[in-house]
Symmetry: D2
Subunit: 409 residues, 4 copies
């Protein structure tokens, strides 16, 4: 026996579940979509899927073969074209893309235009025009998209997952404070971050909402409250896939050994579309904040910690995120030592299975009637909505505890 | 308030505790001895001491100022000479050695010749001659050393800690099986590993025994049983100070993310006396076995794992252990990624505070009447005597749990 | 204008040149063969080819499109099968292999069985049986292969290049001493390393001989003398493609700055067939000797240099050689500093273009009537046959000097 | 015989030479000053001194024992205090500082206040007040300092070396254009960079001028022309001590192998006073420009090269500059490979011996009557004043050629 479940078996009579992407033809969604086809057909093992570990076998998670994919996308193109770029850069194997071509065409047919800011509208002509509409009108159209998806596919429940490029960071406006304020802003023509409109629409349509990015999503008090009002679960923010994952796995070691971390410098290089967007300082700041906060919360006993996180756009790397971290620490009698690591990972290959995990866990929450921030999913995020420890091992133990409790008869 | 306790305060009326080293002028013992002086006088903060973390403040551990140091040593020299070498190599600060000179002279007066194998006897003329004596006679002399230490210092309890150079690995002989067999071998002139004689003597004298090395120590069933017969606690084996610590902190991350580790290569370079001894393949094998076993037990879900651990003697590094690890792993859809790290740490500066921690925890166990392998100390060892998970975070949580339970009124 | 020549242009009327591989379906030869097709058709740029640099444009080197490939191979299979493995491991792009399929089939038709040792004969059933034949009979057959290649292709000149797996290192036997002794061994049934038989056959057939491996090849005095007798050029040994290239580019920096290198540790990991062969200590020793000697000759002013070169077989890496080097050095007033590097390179992608370079330079030597070891090709080898500096920059300057002198009207 | 000369021997009757620092109590000057004492007394070997290599033995360079040190400094303090900080950070050995104490006190007595910008005057109260004076008046005072140094020490020749902290980068003003324009600016109260005033004063006083920093120094056409008018040699700019040295030693390897460098990212971390100054973007830009230009000039055949150089201030590192470079390159058939290196070096220990080298070579140039930019010293600088190749090996060969030519009888 291996560590993996058998996703495709005997899934035919179980109800299907909708996976609705924000950013449905981005690298993560494309990888997840083709990956689903490969997993459902048994051509790939579920490596990288947390939910496929034996510990979660008793939860009755939705089989991967029962997921029906659709979503919003503001850029033109097709899943095939997006996949071709990933094949060229060594992320997706050519045979997976070939075998999944038909599946991808079916998904493509369920991808509809998304919304964008007025500023970006010119650059993304295929998106719904924001200038002509209030937030309320946008939301109405987005809700209609979800209703149509439900109606045409017959999915029992829908999880909306934001994997779109990071938005520019903004200070939460007054509209962020409570539901009433947010709804006034929907009506009065205020400019609201697209991620919040998607989140509001998802919750309005009775979907669970997962924010895999550092964008606002359902983070604002207004939207957290709205999720509770609607009796729906939310999870986020910002998938913990690479350097931050390693950081939050390593930093507790220093803390428990009472070694004083003097400096933790992290340099990230990224060359895909996400990297290009992050080259813009406004977009970068949200990401960096989450990366640094996680570290500082673990190393509270290292007073005077000097830390730095950089992200540089390096086109030749494409999706291959390469990060170098340097940790300078002090031990017994002031002796100074160091640890450095280099991480070379495909951002999409790391993120895609976690997105599938989150859909499965969020769908279970929908079935269980769980409401609000799902604390047991903290291990997936750089900035867990429900707060709690950033220590990856504490978070992972939390998910295992949840599974143990939930699996009991 | 900081994360550290105040070792020196109000320790005067509490009973003193003996810390008796096997290898009392080696780099670890020398660092610990001078470090104790610096901590007791408040000239250094207890960085690197686990037992100084707030979580352990309620345990009533013996104050560091109450530790009285002595021990066995087979090589000639003085603590001052050993310290001078450590100062030259940037391990011990010159001011710590100067300030601790008087304290070190007092300890030096309590260091007595140890025992060695017949083979090594010629090379270490100051050691008690093994050729002239049976194991029983050796033990008798060692027990007398401990009795004299108790009598002259008035310490309430004694913890014996093995920090001597790693012995050549041997297959456990028949004498290892049970107490009777071991005692027969003591009498019939069989050659037994010195570390087992030290352990037997320590337990005979009513001391707790901690094995910070991969040598046999109290690992054999015979000695474990003897500890139980004598109603004494033991802990070991092989301090988890550097590369293995990082390994067992990182490997669980791969396991929990269901990433398949294909290869884990670890290259260790070391230039101190321990490195010189490990250059001998027989001595090296014990160390390598522990390093590799820890990894494999965590990565059970990575079938086909290819792993390698090398240790090379690099004189120019002296005590600065430098290790490079390369982890090749497979993620979603077969995508291959890598993590590599370089660890540069002073072996002695990492080990010394852990040795002090172990003495404090073992002394508490003596007071509590704990018997046999102390499972809650697993986080300190590469090959915990009580078995259990090698996952550093699970081990660390185990120690915290112990502290929480023990601290309750 | 770019730094590259246009290999395909106007090559039709020039005479063709034979490139005859020892190991014609190994990873290097396969990469070179498909690469030739891609370069000749203009589908690839000559990146990685030294001979394509502007500095060599005036030499009248044979156009790549004029090379006709054939060779010896002891293993079964086809270039297509060998290429498929390289595609799977990300060395050869799929489109290059598809486009070169016809070219590869033509080359496959010119690949004939090679020779092997008696010991290896059982493992390689397709090889010419050694047990049944003296060296002389083997050589006769090999010479006939070359004659048939010339006759059927009409090539003007032939360069034989050894890219077969490294042979077990042997102490040069008496037969190595001079031509007469070697020829006696050919006749008396002595076991001679296959690489020397190939070299003797190549020279007997009037071909230039290039040894890209650390095997004996034409290294022995007997074969060097034979080349001179035959008036033919030879070059070798052991292609300088990866870690040693970096080493010999970096070490001169320390020498010129008068920094004392204390330690240079090099750890190589390799997963292809070559790595498998090198896992055998006998095969490894030849390689390691060359790697270490190069370093020591550059760092003559670092007395007491401690150096180590390791090679480990890491199957998951396939052709992706990954090396970590650690350099510990001493500067002003004894200050100790370090440089470490990690090299991740495809062995075949690095070697293949150099092999094509060597064929072009060796063919020019044949035309020029150059005899014996070609000193100006030192920059291509770990152990240059003509000796001289191992400093890569001195070697590279030597090749540029040759080009400048040779290009003059 | 070793690679080193014997600086102290038989130097007593030879004339003495003045080494006059700009920034005489900075880390570099302090290290050089104490190092001189150690070398002159034979307590240290001349490791790290290029001029001590056998190749330069025939040049008749001034013995190190004949150098008499003085200089300008704008900060308060003493060499002893500066050295204590370097001892604490493991740069200078304690015994070197103790043994050199008397020598340092004598040098301290020859250190006089320097000049600074109006903006910095408040922060450096010990500097000569700029606000009260024109450039001309400043220069007059500086020239008087040099005259007094000559008169009181009897040195035959003086070399002025700028090792002060990097100035804020400025666009060359009109005053930079020619001597007349510069001298007008001296008189009309214009603010000129202190480094140019020091350079003008040095040349006015008949000294050679070496600029080891990226500050303006004698870079401007006005000052280069002035050097020629005065018949004096100059050398600079910006000492090539660490990451750039490695870069310019490695980059030629890629160029000669016709490997296309796609990306070269360099991350530098530095914690000493220089790092603090460079944390200011204006000061940083000069340094980064030199680092990047060197790389680009070597990799001209890598069109589309993406490069980045970052410098971050990391206080815990003090003088230990730690740099990580990542090189992503393309080889045969588009295969992408990488090289990364980590450099850990003491900035002062690397720079100090080169400064002594430059004084010796510049003094020889003074004796030889060499005028203007000294092209043979290019290997010492990131931005050689005389231009030419940035390839370290070409530069090093240039210095060896000079030595060979100059040494001939």
């Amino acid at each position: 026996m291996t560590a993996h479940d058998a996703p495709a078996r005997a899934a035919s009579i179980a109800p299907t579940v909708g996976l609705w992407f924000v950013g449905a033809r981005g690298a993560i969604a494309t990888t997840a979509t083709f990956g689903l086809a490969a997993l459902a057909s048994g051509r790939a093992e579920p490596i990288g899927l947390v939910s496929a570990l034996p510990a979660f076998a008793g939860l009755g998670l939705v089989p991967l073969a029962n997921l029906v994919v659709g979503g919003w996308e503001v850029r033109e193109g097709s899943l095939a074209a997006a996949a071709a770029e990933l094949v060229a850069n060594g992320i997706l194997p050519a045979h997976v893309v070939e075998a999944g071509a038909e599946h991808a065409r079916a998904v493509d047919a369920r991808i509809v235009p998304g919304t964008t800011t007025r500023k970006d509208a010119a650059a993304t002509p295929t998106a719904r025009a924001r200038s002509a509409a209030t937030g309320r009108e946008q939301v109405r159209a987005l809700v209609a998209d979800l209703a149509h998806f439900r109606a045409t596919t017959g999915v029992a429940r829908v999880v909306v997952v934001n994997v779109a490029s990071t938005e520019a960071a903004v200070e939460p406006p007054p509209a962020a404070r409570d539901v009433a304020a947010f709804e006034r802003a929907l009506d009065d023509g205020s400019e609201l971050p697209p991620s919040t409109l998607y989140a509001y629409a998802a919750l309005s349509a009775g979907c669970a909402h997962v924010n895999f990015t550092p964008s606002a999503g359902a983070t604002w008090p207004a939207l957290r409250a709205f999720a509770k009002t609607r009796g729906l679960p939310i999870a986020g923010d910002d998938g913990k896939t690479g350097e931050t994952l390693v950081k939050t796995a390593l930093a507790p070691m220093f803390a428990h050994r009472n070694l004083r971390v003097l400096t933790w410098q992290g340099y990230n290089m990224l060359g895909n579309h996400d990297g290009e967007v992050l080259a813009d300082p406004a977009h970068k700041s949200a990401k960096l904040r989450n990366k640094d906060a996680a570290l500082r919360s673990i190393l509270v006993d290292s007073p005077g910690l000097h830390s730095h996180v950089g992200i540089d756009y390096v086109p030749s790397l494409h999706d291959w995120k390469t990060a170098w971290d340097f940790v300078h620490f002090e031990g017994f009698l002031g002796t100074r030592m160091s640890l450095q690591f280099t991480w070379v990972g495909s951002d999409s290959a790391l993120a895609a299975p976690l997105v599938l995990d989150l859909v499965r866990f969020a769908e279970l929450a929908l079935r269980d009637g769980a409401v609000g921030e799902l604390a047991h999913l903290a291990c997936f995020f750089k900035a867990p909505l429900a707060g709690g420890s950033h220590d990856f091992h504490v978070q992972a133990a939390g998910l295992l505890d949840f599974a143990a409790r939930r699996s009991r008869p």
